[in-house]
């Protein structure tokens, strides 16, 4: 018998069940998954944007409001100057057409590689409960842009800030339908506390995460 058959049979024998599952068992599981009910959730303030901002700041993510996507290059230029960071970056293809050069920036719309120091992305949505960004990988939303560079700048639309992760799954089922290859929830810059439990920012991912909120 295969390892699979052995393990499944062992499970059933240990639990005192007949060797093959009855249809009723399978139906019960299938029905539960089809319904995917939510369990009790914690209270999250009604002002989702304020809650997101507060929690994000707590995670050492910086947050700034801009009036529209057209203002993105100027806001990025300001941020990079203030932090004394290089003026070159990579971005998701959607943002490649913005007027970066007009702000003295050199920005390429391609996936990030090891030498890129700044990555500019959007987000699928954001979670107010924890100040978290949700990223779904795909053709136009490469995962490396938010991962390899030392600085990650993310554009988030306020209308895409939802209360909690349950609401993000609702959006995902509605907007994408199936699971993308990678869904990443990002909550601030990467960190480690492995040495003497001292929290240090910038372990293997970005050292800083900057969120620009658009309406």
């Amino acid at each position: 018998m295969s390892a699979r058959a052995n393990i499944l049979a062992r499970i059933r024998t240990r639990q005192g069940k007949a060797v093959t599952p009855r249809a009723a068992e399978q139906d019960k599981v299938a029905q539960f998954i089809a319904e995917h009910p939510q369990s009790p959730r914690p209270y999250v303030d009604a002002d989702l944007v304020a809650r997101f901002r507060d929690r994000a700041l707590n995670l050492t993510t910086s947050v700034e409001d801009i009036a529209s996507l057209q203002d993105l290059p100027a806001a990025v230029a300001r941020y990079l100057t203030e932090k004394q960071l290089p003026k070159t970056a990579v971005c998701w293809p959607d943002y490649a057409m913005l007027d970066w050069a007009g702000q003295g920036l050199q920005v390429e719309g391609r996936p990030a590689c090891d030498t890129d120091l700044v990555g500019i992305t959007g987000a699928f949505c954001a979670l107010a409960e924890t100040g978290t960004l949700m990223m779904c990988s795909g053709r136009d939303t490469p995962a490396t842009t938010s991962l390899l560079p030392e600085t990650h700048i993310a554009v988030v639309s306020k209308s895409r800030i939802v209360a909690g992760m349950e609401d993000a799954w609702v959006l995902l089922r509605r907007d994408i339908g199936t699971m993308p290859r990678a869904v990443n929830f990002i909550s601030g810059p990467s960190r480690t506390a492995d040495i003497e439990q001292t929290v240090t920012l910038g372990a293997h991912g970005p050292y800083r995460v900057h969120v620009l909120l658009i309406p």
């Binding site: 998954i33 995917h36 992760m165 990443n184 909550s187 960190r191 293997h204």
Partner: protein, 464 residues
């Protein structure tokens, strides 16, 4: 495995003791603070236990569902009955794809299997990328905590180790040490052809695997190499995205005292048409290796465990001796339950007794595992299997007989109480007792007043 033999050495280790103090401060206080963010914490905790019980009750059907949905997205699903099977499967996958370098993110299952050794023996280069695990790989030591593997090491020791192994100037500042490790490891991420990770959960609904990390190494391991292998225990399956969401509210809070970990990465299948990143091949290995032995009996509740580490952080015994004293992969109360069931009660020595049964672990456990209850059951099994030292067996049997004979019991205890009283010094303390040095070597025993509880009770009821 001799827990008792290691304890003395650990208690005398000054560096270890100072390292363990910090753990209590950060993780214990962190959990207490973070659970207050959940106004309905107790409801959420009840739901979490129910979510774990849901899949355990129909484990085979949920695993089958997971497999079907994972396969539909191009994932190759393997089943491993033993630790050796895991090592063999990983070696086969490596050979199949011509792999030479393997990068790993933290996985306790692979610690169970001693996978690194098996891969190195097969001629592969293996690099641990979690900072803590990387330090341990350099030092050639096993982890001492399931969440903070290197909690037993001080910064000074890490400085020495890096200076020696990296052949570089000795840095002492913690951020500088982290930067040094980042720069050493980045080239490995970029050049490895296989990434091995664990999975905190696998999701039946979508056929996905999920890992939580803070460092981002887990994302790199599951994104950059052309092959990704996720290895996890069969008990880690949850039904739906909603169910896993509830567990994710508790895991980081109980693990590291965070509301959420920096990264939660859910991966489903290999790279898709048009994707610019992600592995070309995605394998999942579902591991039994003793887990089914816990099903269907007294111990099934143990399989709810989400490996948060809260039980060890809150355990006065773990806090005093650290993880290495427990002798195998899993320390603390959860380890004292898991190790005897995985490796056999006869090989686990005194582990079921390595707890005071104070109950803190049960209170702290996010999925309400009655750890003291399970330890007590293991002690009973030890007694039944005659695995206790002979004098303990006889003493317990004699006590059992005595307790069943009321008049004899009352006479013996009366005699004892009087005797003990007469052995006391002028402070009412007993400094040493024959055959009970363990009680009196390091402290004095307060002597009884002279009359037994039953005598006092009888006198009080007469007067009352």
């Amino acid at each position: 495995m001799h827990f008792k033999a290691r304890v003395g050495e650990k208690l005398a280790d000054v560096k270890l003791q100072s390292a363990l103090k910090k753990l209590q401060g950060n993780f214990v206080k962190g959990r207490a603070d973070r659970i207050t963010e959940l106004d309905n914490f107790h409801e959420i905790r009840d739901a979490a236990a129910a979510i774990r019980d849901r899949t355990l009750a129909n484990l085979d059907v949920y695993l089958d569902t997971f497999e079907r949905n994972a396969k539909a997205r191009g994932t190759v699903v393997h089943w491993a009955e033993t630790h050796d099977d895991v090592n063999r499967i990983v070696r086969e996958i490596a050979a199949q794809h011509g792999v030479r370098k393997v990068i790993k993110s933290k996985s306790m299952v692979t610690e169970e299997c001693a996978l690194n050794d098996a891969l190195i023996d097969a001629g592969l280069e293996v690099v641990e990328t979690d900072l803590g695990e990387y330090i341990l790989q350099l030092a050639q030591e096993p982890p001492s905590h399931i969440v903070a593997p290197v909690v037993h090491k001080t910064r000074d020791e890490v400085s020495d180790l890096f200076a020696e192994k990296h052949n570089a100037p000795r840095l002492t500042d913690i951020p500088a040490l982290c930067r040094e490790a980042r720069e050493k490891l980045r080239p490995h991420f970029l050049s490895a052809d296989m990434g091995v990770s664990g999975a905190n959960f696998v999701i039946a609904e979508t056929g996905s695997t999920l890992i939580v990390t803070n460092e981002g190494n887990g994302r790199l391991v599951t994104t950059l190499p052309k092959v990704h292998v996720a290895i996890t225990g069969i008990e880690k399956v949850v039904a739906t995205l909603e169910d896993v969401t509830t567990l994710l509210r508790l895991l980081p809070r109980h693990g590291t005292g965070q509301s959420i970990t920096n990264y939660i990465s859910v991966t489903t299948g290999a790279r898709r048409e048009g994707d610019s990143d992600g592995p070309e091949h995605f394998h999942v290995i579902l591991v039994d290796a003793g887990r089914t032995k816990l099903l269907g009996g007294d111990m099934q509740e143990m399989l709810r465990c989400i490996r948060c580490g809260a039980c060890m952080n809150h355990c006065p015994v773990y806090q005093s001796v650290g993880g290495h004293a427990y002798g195998w992969v899993y320390p603390g109360p959860m380890g004292s339950v898991l190790t005897p069931t995985y490796v056999g009660l006869q090989n686990a020595g005194d582990l079921p007794n390595a707890a005071t049964l104070c109950g803190q672990c049960h209170v702290a456990c996010p999925v309400k595992i009655p750890l003291p209850e399970l330890l007590r059951k293991l002690r009973e099994q030890q007694f039944e299997l005659k695995l206790k030292p002979w004098f303990e067996m006889y003493a317990l049997r004699a006590w059992g007989w005595l307790a069943q004979h009321s008049w004899l019991y009352s006479m013996t205890t009366r005699l004892q109480a009087r005797l003990l009283k007469s052995a006391a010094d002028d402070r009412g303390m007993i400094r040493s007792l024959p055959f009970a040095g363990g009680w009196t070597d390091r402290r004095d025993l307060p002597a009884p007043e002279g009359r037994t509880f039953r005598e006092l009770y009888r006198a009080a009821s007469k007067n009352g």
